[in-house]
């Protein structure tokens, strides 16, 4: 029965940081943002085709905003006839897919067209995009009919490096996702991201750093297309060892054993009598000097 199918919602968050992609295009011209978007589109189509009740959302994570590429506010599902004249793709594709693809392309074009260069905003707003994804998931789950189940997951395709300033927001998003039983998967194109490793570990998703960018779509379809339930039946790359060490507040070194201020809980690698964060004074009692015991001389008989 169609109404008893479990709905599976996939939200794809694509990192379209124009600065990183622009620099990358000069380094490796064979894999460009267009190819990346093509791969993501194939993945999205495959997801929609797997089951009739699957739902999809795509968010572009820019350095100025997070924008929904699909579904768009300006598009309603019943508007197919209106678009038919302009987007007559004659290859007999499932209409939903062709409409979706066109929509995505249009949105990304608009997004890039309105990009304004600002020097200090060079980092991808990933935490914000994830928060938007969670909100979307929450909204859709509220709009379900009574008795319908929904399983949702987020797939992050990441290109640029981590931004340390987003750490708090990131962790909040991760814990919110964990509470909502939303998986976060990560497909990393370039450099390893500690934050995403933590996200995947905490929520139960998969983290993969791909060696070959040109085969991105193959990795996406092989590893990230199956559902959480189906993954237990498949042989997939094993989970990565996550480095959960804390960083000391003074040098930002990752430490295993350190000192923690009992008032403000800030972590230090060396002992100092005053905590620099909350200015509490600490005293360590010095070991008492033991009097050397006088050895009794045994009278030798």
């Amino acid at each position: 029965m169609a109404s008893e199918d479990e709905i599976s919602l996939l939200v794809i968050v694509v990192d379209v940081n124009p600065i990183w992609w622009g620099q990358h295009a000069q380094r490796e011209p064979e894999f460009t943002l267009s190819k990346c978007l093509d791969a993501v589109m194939v993945m999205a189509n495959s997801h929609l085709v797997m089951t009739r009740s699957n739902k999809l959302a795509i968010i572009a994570s820019h350095c100025q905003e997070s924008h929904f590429l699909y579904p768009s506010k300006h598009w309603k599902a019943g508007d197919v006839t209106g678009d038919d004249a302009s987007s007559g793709s004659g290859d007999g594709k499932y209409e939903l897919l062709s409409v979706a693809n066109d929509l995505i392309a249009e949105e990304i074009r608009n997004l890039m067209a309105r990009t304004q260069v600002k020097g200090h905003q060079t980092d991808t707003l990933l935490a914000g995009s994830l928060a938007k994804a969670l909100c979307y998931i929450h909204r859709i789950s509220k709009e379900l009919d009574a008795g319908q189940d929904m399983k949702s997951r987020i797939l992050v395709v990441k290109a640029a490096e981590d931004c340390a300033l987003q750490y708090m927001n990131f962790m909040n998003v991760i814990f919110a996702a964990q509470k909502q039983n939303v998986l976060i998967d990560a497909c990393v194109l370039d450099s390893d991201s500690g934050l995403l490793q933590q996200a995947c570990d905490i929520t139960g998703g998969l983290y993969l750093r791909i060696p070959q960018k040109t085969a991105l779509v193959q990795y996406l379809l092989w590893v990230f297309l199956p559902d959480a339930d189906q993954r237990s039946q498949l042989v997939l790359p094993p989970p990565v060892h996550v480095d959960y060490r804390a960083a000391c507040f003074c040098h930002r070194n990752l430490i295993e054993i350190g000192y923690v201020c009992s008032v403000c809980l800030s972590i230090f690698c060396n002992f100092s009598p005053i905590c620099t964060t909350c200015e509490t004074a600490f005293k360590i009692p010095l070991p008492q000097m033991m009097k050397p015991k006088k050895k009794k001389l045994k009278a030798a008989n």
């Binding site: 124009p18 600065i19 622009g22 620099q23 295009a25 000069q26 943002l33 267009s34 190819k35 978007l37 093509d38 791969a39 589109m41 693809n101 995505i104 392309a105 990304i108 074009r109 890039m112 067209a113 990009t115 260069v117 020097g119 060079t122 490096e161 981590d162 340390a164 300033l165 750490y167 708090m168 990131f170 962790m171 500690g194 934050l195 993969l208 791909i210 060696p211 070959q212 040109t214 085969a215 991105l216 779509v217 193959q218 092989w222 590893v223 042989v235 790359p237 094993p238 060490r245 960083a247 507040f249 930002r252 070194n253 990752l254 403000c264 800030s266 620099t276 964060t277 909350c278 200015e279």
Partner: protein, 544 residues
């Protein structure tokens, strides 16, 4: 003769055992019997071994005493002295009754304790099997450290055990049997007697007063059952009844004293449905009752009193000392209702009704505010400071314009996303054994090794841990006792290694090729050996 060193508590002559005349001796720790004319004892039993004693019923011609041992055997002594046989037998029986309980507890307790500990803790049981049954260490060493710990715990828990209450039907359980013609036979056991004493302390008092001075036990109980105190209708209490006082005492204690809350008025409760008038007609409570109602109310009163006494008996044991105080205070509180002596519960109830906690002023504990100077430190994640890739603004402008150009003419071309060679190399990387799948092989060691090997390994670890704990607790070696223990533990470890560890290693080597399951245990034992050798050499040096 061994008897000379022990203190003899009782000697009974003319006691036959197995058709032989002899003398029975009761000593401090055992009971013994020797035949007439001989010096030694043929029969000797420690009190600890005796499970129970039995006596022959009163009517029989032979006056006998039987001892049943824990092992099941029994020994019978026949008291053959014509005049004093019964007295002798009873004297012996009484003495045994006093002595047996003392020894019973001591001997069994330890064994029971051990059994209980072994049964409750399967890990301990396994450890016991591994170490003691296979004779790596002796049973005494095993129990030496454990019994002390557990006896302390057990003593504490014993104090918190709940008392067994009294069944409310204990009087009904007596169940008189008709004895032929018009007589009733009541079977009283010590349990029932105890219940009666606990529920009716007045009867206990009477018992203490009258037995054994005025009445024998049997006579006391006969009078008890005859008295109308026990029977249903307590109307005729005029006769010379020792229990008439008890009846009077009972009536004094009113039922309402059980209810400690003076705000509850039991008398205003009526068992009436809404009759004519729907409750608007307030009829005065009719004080005159019919005869039938009177007798009913008497029975109901007795039932209530009986139940109240049973409940009170359950509480009485717990509040042994404060019992007197609370009873007197409750009765006093009802009789003297002055403001000075208000029972505390009434005060609490009034207080609760008057005040609301939420509406009071907040007077919480004073707190000190946290004063953070550099709070932005918290928001920086555990990302080590790396040298950022510095891009000039020209770079940024270039990149952005490049991308804008590219995307402005973007058209999805989904038929040529990937070349087949790229796809096949990706598949190879993702297949088992590929580049991305390497980490998986190392993580399945728990799946490679079967569960019984795993559990055997766990047992080995527990046993090794136990031995090593004993070993390391001997250091620093201060006393000669610890020296001996260290040497003994060293030999125990060696024995453990040869009898348990090596066979296990050989077994897994035969079955699995390259798994190193016992490395860590070997390391631990080796560390212990090193310490022992170091200590030994130091001791040699000190001696020379």
């Amino acid at each position: 003769m061994a008897a000379l060193s022990e203190e003899v508590l009782l000697v009974v002559k003319r006691v036959r055992q197995r058709k032989q005349d002899g003398t029975l001796y009761l000593m401090t720790e055992r009971i013994a019997w020797g035949p007439e004319g001989k010096d030694r004892f043929t029969v000797s039993h420690l009190y600890a071994d005796i499970r129970c004693q039995k006596i022959s019923p009163d009517g029989k011609a032979k006056i006998q005493l039987q001892l049943v041992l824990h092992t099941g055997e029994s020994t019978t002594f026949h008291f053959a002295n014509e005049s004093t046989a019964l007295k002798d037998r009873d004297a012996a029986k009484d003495l045994l009754q006093q002595l047996l309980p003392k020894f019973k507890k001591k001997a069994n307790k330890e064994l029971e304790e051990k059994n209980r500990m072994l049964q409750e803790d399967p890990v301990l049981f396994q450890l016991y099997k591994d170490l003691v049954v296979s004779q790596v260490i002796s049973a005494e060493e095993f129990w030496a450290s454990r019994l002390k710990l557990n006896s302390v715990d057990h003593a504490l828990s014993n104090n918190n055990k709940q008392e067994v209450g009294i069944s409310a039907a204990f009087l009904a359980d007596i169940r008189p049997q008709t004895d032929g013609c018009n007589g009733l036979k009541y079977n009283l056991t010590s349990d029932i007697i105890e219940s009666i004493f606990r529920t009716y302390p007045a009867v206990k008092q009477k018992y203490a007063e009258n037995v054994p001075h005025n009445l024998t036990e049997k006579e006391f109980w006969t009078r008890f059952f005859q008295s109308h105190y026990f029977h249903r209708d307590r109307i005729n209490t005029g006769q010379q009844d020792i229990f008439s006082e008890c009846a009077k005492q009972d009536e004094k204690v009113s039922h309402l004293s059980c209810v400690k809350n003076p705000m509850v008025d039991l008398m205003s409760l009526e068992d009436k449905t809404l009759d004519e008038g729907y409750g608007s007609l307030t009829a005065l409570p009719n004080s005159s009752k019919t005869v039938k109602e009177n007798s009913n109310s008497a029975i109901i009163k007795r039932f209530n009193h009986h139940s109240a006494m049973v409940l009170a008996a359950g509480l009485r044991k717990v509040e042994a000392s404060s019992d007197q105080a609370s009873e007197t205070s409750s009765t006093d509180g009802n009789s003297r209702d002055s403001d000075f002596f208000q029972p505390p519960i009434k005060k609490v109830k009034l207080q609760e009704a008057i005040e609301y906690e939420d509406l009071q002023n907040e007077s919480g504990p004073k707190t000190i505010a946290l004063n953070l100077k550099k709070s932005d430190r918290y928001s920086h994640g555990p990302v080590p400071l790396q040298s950022h890739h510095y891009s000039t603004s020209q770079d940024i402008i270039n990149s952005v314009s490049c991308i804008q150009e590219e995307i402005s003419c973007y058209k999805p071309c989904l038929t040529r996303v990937m070349s087949s060679s790229a796809a096949s190399s990706a598949i190879t990387a993702l297949s088992p054994g590929g580049v991305l799948m390497q980490a998986g092989a190392q993580q399945t060691i728990s799946q490679l090794v079967s569960t019984d090997v795993q559990s055997e390994l766990k047992h080995l670890y527990t046993a090794a841990g136990e031995l090593l704990r004993h070993f390391w607790s001997c250091f620093p070696v201060n006393t000669p006792f610890l020296e001996e223990k260290v040497v003994k533990m060293q030999s125990n470890l060696e024995r453990f290694q040869s009898t348990k560890l090596h066979p296990f290693q050989e077994k897994i080597q035969r079955e699995y090729l390259s798994t190193n399951l016992t490395n860590h245990v070997e390391e631990m034992i080796q560390a212990a050996y090193n310490k022992f050798h170091a200590w030994q050499t130091r001791r040699m040096l000190r001696k020379t």
